[in-house]
Amino acid sequence: MWGALGPVGDMPCLLTLQMECEAERRPLGVFECQLCALTAPYSYVGQQPPGTKSVVGLGHSAHWHHFLPCSLLEESYVMRDPFTPDKDRFLILGSRCSSCGRLVCVGPECSLFYSKRFCLPCVRENIDAFPQEIQQDLEKRKVPSKRPASQPGSRT
C-alpha cells in the first residue's frame, strides 16, 4: 500500500549495480550556470542519481551502500555531495530552464522550482503565470548580482 510500485523481481538489483559503477566514475564534465557562472564538476545527469533507488525494499545485496528511496522530478546535473564522507550522498547542481532551456544552477538567485525548473529571468518575464506565493517570494529575493555569462573566465 505504501510503495508506489509493488515488489519487483531481480531486475532492479542490476540497476543498482550499474549506479554503483556510475558513482565511482570520474566527473563527466563541468557544470556551469549560465546566469551566475558557478562551476562544479558533475558526475551524473538524469533523474535517478547514484545513491538513490527507484524501488522500495531492494538493494539488500549491496550492504555497503545506503540507498535513498527517492528520485528527482527533473533531469538534473548531480555531483557527489562534497561535504560529507558518505559516498552515497548526492548534490543537485542545476538543470535546464523548462521555458528557455538555459542551464541554470539551483541557487535562489538563478532559478526556482515550481513543479518544473524556471530560470529567474523567465519567471520575472511571466510572473503572472505563477501563484501569488511565488510572486511574493520573488519580491523578497534581492536582485541577483549578475556575473555576465559572456565572461565565463572571470573567476580565474
Partner: protein, 1145 residues
C-alpha cells in the same frame, strides 16, 4: 492537468481516511519514542540513507519538530483556487498547478517505506501519519540539498572574491610560455590555496607544492581539498615526515621542502612531477635556498618541468633574476588601512638592572585601547615580542591588569606551547572582552588569526645565530627588518581598518635592514654540507646559491664533518659519511644509530636518539612545582639526561599499555608534555624504518600469528580504534570555543582544558592522540622494547654510554676543578672552545652535581686541597653533551657523564704522549697524568688495539650495508657483522672501561697549549721498534716532533720539565711472559710486549680471553673486485670499493 509527479500523488487514496479504531488522531504523539521507532524501523534501516540511531536520524527528528511547529502556525492557510488566471501560451507555463502547495517547490520525490520490513506498520499506523512523515522527510532532504548547495555557492563566491582570482588566467598563460614564474602577493591574497587549484582546473595532474612547515602542508591540503570539492576524495594529499595521504590518484601533493630534497636525492631529475610550486621563498629558509639552487641546475635538463615560485612582495627581483629574469605576476594584497603610531620607549628608570623586559609600555597600549575604543567595538590585540621570556614577563603584568578590568583575555603564543594551547588563540572572547595575544614572530607569517584590529610591535626578534668560531648556537635578540615590521603591521588590517603601535621611533624603522637575514647566513651548515655531499652537487664552496653563505660557516661545517669522521681529508664522504648523508638526522644522532645497531643495542639507541631529536618534554615551570619534581624523581638517571628521557619514554609506554587511558594524566602529574612523547614515538619508528631500509637492522617479523582468538581480539580492537578516529574526524572542524576569564595564573583557558575529569561531551573524552598512537604503533612491540630496556644490564648500560660517547664526540666538557666547593647552582664546565658553561636547570647534574665530583684517592698527589685539579683518581669524569646553547649564559644541553681517561683514549682525534707515556694530552686541550709508566703503556696499547678492532667491525658493517644496497636487499638473513666478533669486542671494551688506573685530569692553559710540543727534531734517531703498538715503523712527526705512531697517536712529542733524554734512558726490565731480562726504554718495552711470542693476546690489565688480531685482519677483508665502469680488477676492502666507486659518480 497532472499534478507534479510526486509519487505520493494527491489521488483519492491519500485523502484522509476515517481514523482507524486504534488511532485517535487527537492522541497522536510524534514525540513518543515508540512511535518514532516504528517509523525508523520502516524508513531508516541499515541499508537506508538515514540510519536508525545515527546523528543524521537525530537531526531529522529535530527538523521534524520544527517543521511541525511551522505548519501548525500555517494551518489557517486558505486553499486558494485561483482559476481566473488564463492558460498560458508557453507550454512550460501552461500546466503549472493552480493551487499552491509548498510541495511543488521540491524537485524530489520520496517513496514509501520498505513494505517488507514494515508489515506491522500498516496495521498500526494510519496512512495519513505515514504521509505526514514522508512529507517531512521530503522537506528534510530538500533542506539538506539547499544547505549543501549554499555551502558550494558560498565557497565559490569567496574564492572569486580573493585578490588572486583576477590573476589565475594570467598565471596559467605565463606558465605556458615560461618555465619559471614568480607569483608575488601578500598574505591574504590567496596564492597558497588558489594557485594549486588553478593548475588542477587547467588539467595538471602531477603537481608538488612545497611548504617550509609541516603544519602548513596538512592545513593547505585540507583547505585545497575542501575548496576543490574533493575533501573526501584523493586528488589532494600531503606528505610530511610521519604521515602521508598520498595515493596513486593524488594530483597535487603538499610536502615539506626537506622531503622534496630527499626525493631529489633518490631521483635527481624528479620525474614524478610536472609542476613544482615552491611556496614562501621569501622566508629564505636554508632548505628553500638550497632547493632553488638545485632547481636552477635541473631546469635545463628538464625542459618540461614548470616551476612556480611564490613569495610575499619582498625582494621579488632577487628571485626573478636568479632564474634568468623569470616573469613576475604580482597580486595586490587585500588590506584595510592601518594607522601607524610610533611610541618609542624613552629611557625609563628601570626598577632593577635585571635583564627582564619592562612590561609597562605594553600595558600603556592596553590602557589606551580601553580608554579610546568602546568595548562593544570588537577587535583583538596581537603583541609581537622577541621570545618566550619576554612573553612571560608581559603575560604576568597583563594578566594582573586584565583581572582588574575584566576586559582582556591574555594568551601566549609560541612554538614551545602544545598544539592545544596554541589553538586557544583561535577561540572567541566573550562579549566586551578582547583577546590579547602575546606572540613571537610565529604570528608574523605562520599563524594567521582573524579578528586582529590592534598590533603592538616591539621591533625585536630573537633568532638562533651560529658562531662558527665558537661552534655554538646563540639565541640573540635583534632589531627586526623593515619587511618584518610591515608584515607585523599588516596583521592589523586583515578584517577591517586597524592600528599598529610601534614601540620604537620612526628613525629606528628607517635604520632597520630592508630584509631579514636569510637562514643560510646565520645557522650551522653541517647538515646542509653533508646533504650536498650526499647529492653529489660538487664543492659546496662553488654551489650557485641565490646568496652564498659566509665562507667561514662553510669551512667550519666541512671541518666539523671531518672531525665527525663523515668526510675524509679530501672532503669526500667516508663510508659512514655516505650512510649518514642518507639518514635525515643530525650527524651525531646518525652515528649513534649506526654504532648502536652494531652492538645489538638498536632498541635502546632508537629511543635515545628519538628523545634527543625532539624538544624537551619537560614543561617549563614544572621545575618550581615540588609535586612534579618529586613525581619525576624515580624516572631520573644519574648517568645523564638521555637516560632520564629513556626512562620517561619507557615508563610512558608501560603506562599506555597497562592502564591505557591514564597516560595523559600520568604526564600532567609529572610536568611532561605528552605531545613530545608522541613525537618521540613517531621519530623512533621512523629511525627504525631507516635502519631497516638501510640494512642495519633486520626487519621485524610480521607480528606473530598467535591463536585465532587473540587475532580476532586484536582485529576487533583495531576496528574499534578506527571507528573512534573516524568519529573524531567527522566531528572535527573544531568548534570555536568561548574563552573564559579567570584569575589563576596559567592564563585564560577554554573549557576543554579542564582536564579529563571535568564534564565534557562524550566525543571530547576520547583521547584522539592515544587512538592515533595505538593505530600507528605496535604497542606490544614497543612495550617489549620498553620492558627489556628496564632490564638493561650494567654491561649493556656501559656499552650504551660508549656508543653515546663516541656518537657525541668531540662534544666534551670538563668539570671545573673547584666545583666540589661550589653551590649546586654554580657548577661550571669548560669545553675546548667555551669556558664557564653551565648546566641547564632541568639537567640531572644540576640537581645532583656530587656524582661528578671526583672522590679523593689514597694515592699520592692529594695534599688536602679542595679542588680536583691535581687529584689522583681512577674515577675522573667528563660530560659529553648534545648541544651547547647560548642565551644569557652558555648552557650544556643533554649531558651524559663518561669515564675520562678511557673515553679520551678511545675517541680522541689526537693523543700526544711524553717519553714514558705518563703524560698524555688529548685533542690538544686535556692533560692526563698517570701514576706509573707501565700501566700507561698497557692502556695505550690496549686502546690502540680496541680502536683498530672497532674500526674494522664498523667497516665490515658499512661494507655489508653497501653490499646489501647493491644486491637488492635480498640477503636480509646475514647479520651485518659477525656476532662472535662483536661480542668479543664488546667484552674487551667493557674490560677496558672498567680498568682502574689512578690519574689526574686538567684542562691546559692557553700558554701551555702554545708550548705543548717539542717541535720538529733535527736528530731523528728513529727508534727501530718493529710492531710498536702493533703498527708499522713510526715516522717522525713533522710539526709536533716525536713519532707519529698512528694517525692520532704521536709518541714523545710533549715538552716536559723532565730530562729531555728520559725517553732514551733504559732501565732493566723483566718480561712477565718470556722472562727476558734486559735494559729497555719505555718504548722498547712496549714494543717487546706487543710482539712477545709468549704474551697472551690480552686486552687491558685483567683481560682474560684472547682477542682476535684485528690489525692483520684488515687485509684479509680484501676481496677481488671487478669494476664495471673502468673494466679493471682490483683487490679491495669494502671501504676501498666504495671509495673507488665514487670516482665514477
Amino acid at each position: 492537468m497532472p499534478p507534479p509527479r510526486t509519487r505520493e500523488g494527491r489521488g483519492p487514496r491519500d485523502r484522509p481516511p476515517a481514523p482507524s479504531q486504534e488511532e485517535d488522531p487527537e492522541k497522536w504523539d510524534w514525540n513518543c519514542p515508540e512511535t518514532r521507532r516504528l517509523f525508523e524501523d520502516a524508513f531508516f534501516g541499515d541499508e537506508d540513507y538515514i540510519r536508525q540511531g545515527s546523528e543524521e536520524c537525530q537531526k531529522f527528528w529535530t527538523f521534524f519538530e520544527r517543521l511541525q511547529r511551522f505548519q501548525n502556525l500555517k494551518t489557517t492557510r486558505k486553499e486558494e483556487k485561483d482559476s481566473r488566471r488564463p492558460k498560458h501560451s508557453i507550454p512550460a507555463l501552461a500546466d503549472l498547478p493552480r493551487a499552491y502547495d509548498p510541495r511543488y517547490r521540491i524537485n524530489l520525490s520520496v517513496l514509501g517505506p520498505d513494505t517488507r520490513r514494515s508489515r506491522g506498520l500498516g496495521r498500526r499506523l494510519a496512512p495519513e501519519r505515514v504521509s505526514e512523515f514522508r512529507q517531512a522527510l521530503l522537506h528534510y532532504l530538500d533542506f539538506g540539498q539547499k544547505q549543501a548547495f549554499g555551502r558550494l555557492a558560498k565557497l565559490q563566491r569567496e574564492r572569486m572574491a580573493l585578490p588572486i582570482a583576477q590573476y589565475g588566467d594570467r598565471i596559467l598563460q605565463t606558465l605556458k610560455e615560461h618555465q619559471v614564474v614568480v607569483v608575488a602577493g601578500d598574505t591574504g591574497c590567496g596564492k597558497s590555496t588558489q594557485v594549486p587549484q588553478y593548475l588542477l582546473a587547467a588539467g595538471f595532474s602531477h603537481v608538488a607544492c612545497t611548504q617550509p612547515r609541516r603544519i602548513a602542508c596538512i592545513s593547505l591540503a585540507k583547505r585545497v581539498g575542501f575548496e576543490s570539492l574533493s575533501q573526501y576524495g584523493s586528488q589532494v594529499g600531503y606528505q610530511i615526515r610521519f604521515e602521508s595521504t598520498r595515493s596513486a590518484a593524488t594530483k597535487i601533493v603538499f610536502l615539506t621542502v626537506g622531503l622534496l630534497l630527499r626525493q631529489i636525492q633518490r631521483e635527481p631529475r624528479l620525474p614524478q612531477y610536472q609542476v613544482l610550486i615552491v611556496d614562501e621563498v621569501h622566508e629564505r629558509h636554508l632548505h628553500n635556498d638550497f632547493l632553488l639552487g638545485i632547481l636552477r641546475r635541473l631546469l635545463p635538463q628538464r625542459p618540461d618541468l614548470k616551476v612556480i615560485l611564490m613569495s610575499a612582495t619582498i625582494n621579488i627581483s632577487l628571485f626573478s633574476s636568479y632564474f634568468g629574469s623569470a616573469p613576475v605576476v604580482q597580486v595586490p594584497g587585500r588590506l584595510f588601512p592601518i594607522t601607524v603610531v610610533y611610541q618609542p620607549q624613552e629611557a625609563e628608570p628601570t626598577t632593577s638592572k635585571s635583564e627582564k623586559l619592562d612590561p609597562r609600555p605594553f600595558l600603556r597600549v592596553l590602557e589606551a585601547i580601553d580608554n579610546k575604543y568602546p568595548p562593544e567595538e570588537r577587535g583583538d590585540l596581537l603583541v609581537f615580542l622577541s621570545g618566550m621570556a619576554e612573553i612571560s614577563a608581559v603575560l604576568e603584568a597583563a594578566q594582573t591588569y586584565a583581572s582588574h578590568t575584566q576586559r582582556w583575555a591574555v594568551l601566549p603564543l609560541h612554538s614551545a606551547l602544545s598544539v592545544a594551547d596554541q589553538d586557544k588563540v583561535f577561540d572567541v572572547a566573550p562579549p566586551g572582552v578582547r583577546k590579547c595575544i602575546l606572540s613571537t614572530n610565529i604570528a608574523e607569517t605562520s599563524v594567521t588569526i582573524d579578528g586582529i584590529r590592534f598590533v603592538v610591535d616591539s621591533g625585536k626578534v630573537k633568532e638562533m645565530s651560529y658562531d662558527p668560531q665558537a661552534k655554538l648556537q646563540r639565541l640573540q635578540e635583534f632589531w627586526i627588518s623593515q619587511a618584518s615590521a610591515e608584515q607585523r603591521k599588516g596583521r592589523a588590517g586583515r578584517t577591517g581598518p586597524g592600528v599598529c603601535f610601534r614601540l620604537y621611533a620612526e628613525s629606528d624603522y628607517d635604520a632597520f635592514a630592508p630584509y631579514p637575514v636569510p637562514e643560510i647566513r646565520r645557522v650551522a651548515l653541517d647538515a646542509l654540507v653533508l646533504q650536498m655531499k650526499g647529492m653529489s652537487v660538487g664543492d659546496p664552496r662553488t654551489f650557485p646559491f641565490i646568496e652564498p653563505p659566509p665562507p667561514t660557516s662553510l669551512e667550519t661545517a666541512i671541518l666539523y664533518l671531518r672531525d665527525q669522521g663523515a668526510l675524509d681529508s679530501s672532503e669526500a664522504l667516508t663510508p659512514i659519511g655516505s650512510l649518514l648523508a642518507q639518514l635525515p638526522v643530525d650527524v651525531v644522532i646518525g652515528k649513534m644509530l649506526i654504532l648502536g645497531s652494531m652492538f645489538h643495542l638498536a632498541e635502546p639507541v632508537l629511543t635515545i636518539a628519538a628523545a634527543l631529536s625532539v624538544q624537551s618534554p619537560f614543561t617549563r615551570g614544572a621545575q618550581s612545582n615540588p609535586e612534579c619534581v618529586a613525581a619525576r624523581r624515580p624516572l631520573e638517571s644519574d648517568q645523564g639526561d638521555p637516560f632520564t628521557l629513556f626512562n620517561v619514554f619507557n615508563t610512558w609506554v608501560q603506562v599506555k599499555s597497562e592502564r591505557s587511558r591514564n597516560s595523559r594524566r600520568w604526564c600532567r602529574h609529572r610536568g611532561i608534555e605528552e605531545h613530545r612523547l608522541y613525537e618521540m614515538a613517531n621519530l623512533r619508528r621512523q629511525f627504525k624504518e631507516l635502519l631497516e631500509d638501510h640494512g642495519l637492522l633486520a626487519r621485524a617479523q610480521a607480528s606473530k600469528p598467535g591463536d585465532s582468538y587473540s587475532r580476532l581480539r586484536q582485529r576487533r580492537e583495531r576496528q574499534a580504534l578506527y571507528q573512534l578516529k573516524r568519529q573524531h574526524e567527522e566531528g572535527q572542524g573544531r568548534r570555536r570555543k568561548v574563552l573564559r576569564l579567570q584569575e589563576d595564573q596559567d592564563g585564560c583557558s577554554s573549557d576543554e582544558d579542564r582536564g579529563g575529569t571535568a564534564s565534557q561531551g562524550a566525543n571530547d573524552n576520547v583521547d584522539i592522540q592515544d587512538v592515533k598512537f595505538k593505530l600507528r604503533h605496535n604497542l606490544e612491540q614497543l612495550q617489549a622494547a620498553a620492558s627489556s630496556a628496564q632490564a638493561l644490564t650494567r654491561d649493556q648500560m656501559a656499552l650504551l654510554k660508549l656508543v653515546l660517547g663516541r656518537g657525541l664526540y668531540p662534544q666534551l666538557a670538563i668539570p671545573d676543578p673547584f666545583n666540589s666547593g661550589r653551590k649546586d647552582s654554580d657548577q661550571i664546565f669548560h669545553t675546548e672552545t667555551k669556558q664557564g658553561a653551565v648546566l641547564h636547570p632541568t639537567c640531572i647534574f644540576a640537581n645532583s652535581p656530587e656524582v661528578l665530583h671526583t672522590q679523593e684517592q689514597e694515592a699520592r698527589g692529594s695534599d688536602g686541597s679542595r679542588d680536583d685539579k691535581d687529584k689522583m683518581s681512577s674515577k675522573h669524569q667528563l660530560l659529553t653533551f648534545v648541544s651547547l646553547l647560548e642565551t644569557n649564559k652558555p648552557y650544556l644541553v643533554n649531558c651524559v657523564r663518561i669515564p675520562a681517561l678511557q673515553s679520551l683514549l678511545l675517541f680522541s682525534r689526537s693523543l700526544d704522549t711524553n717519553g714514558d707515556c705518563c703524560r698524555l694530552v688529548a685533542d690538544g686541550w686535556l692533560e692526563l697524568q698517570l701514576v706509573d709508566s707501565e700501566s700507561a703503556v698497557r692502556l695505550l696499547a690496549a686502546s690502540l688495539r680496541l680502536r683498530a678492532h672497532w674500526e674494522s667491525a664498523l667497516d665490515q658493517q658499512l661494507a655489508h650495508q653497501a653490499r646489501w644496497r647493491l644486491e637488492d636487499k635480498d640477503d636480509e638473513e646475514t647479520a651485518p657483522v659477525n656476532r662472535k666478533e662483536v661480542a668479543a669486542l664488546s667484552r674487551e671494551l667493557l674490560q677496558f672501561t672498567a680498568s682502574k688506573v689512578s690519574y689526574s685530569l686538567r684542562r691546559l692553559t692557553g700558554l701551555e697549549i702554545q708550548n705543548l710540543y717539542v717541535g720538529p727534531q733535527t736528530i731523528t734517531a728513529a727508534p727501530s721498534l718493529p710492531g710498536l703498538f702493533g703498527c708499522s715503523t713510526p715516522s717522525p712527526h713533522p710539526t709536533k716532533g716525536g713519532y707519529a705512531v698512528t694517525d692520532f697517536l704521536t709518541y714523545s712529542c710533549l715538552t716536559s720539565d723532565a730530562d729531555l733524554y728520559s725517553d732514551c734512558l733504559r732501565t732493566f726490565w723483566t718480561c712477565p711472559h718470556c722472562d727476558l731480562h734486559m735494559p729497555f726504554t719505555p718504548l722498547e718495552r712496549i714494543a717487546h710486549e706487543s710482539t712477545c711470542p709468549e704474551a697472551p693476546q690480552d686486552g687491558p690489565p685483567g683481560a682474560e680471553e684472547a682477542a682476535p688480531e684485528p690489525l692483520q685482519k684488515a687485509s684479509a677483508l680484501q676481496r677481488p673486485y671487478h669494476c664495471e665502469a673502468c673494466q679493471k680488477d682490483f683487490l679491495f676492502t669494502p671501504t676501498e670499493v666504495l671509495r673507488h666507486r665514487r670516482q665514477h659518480v
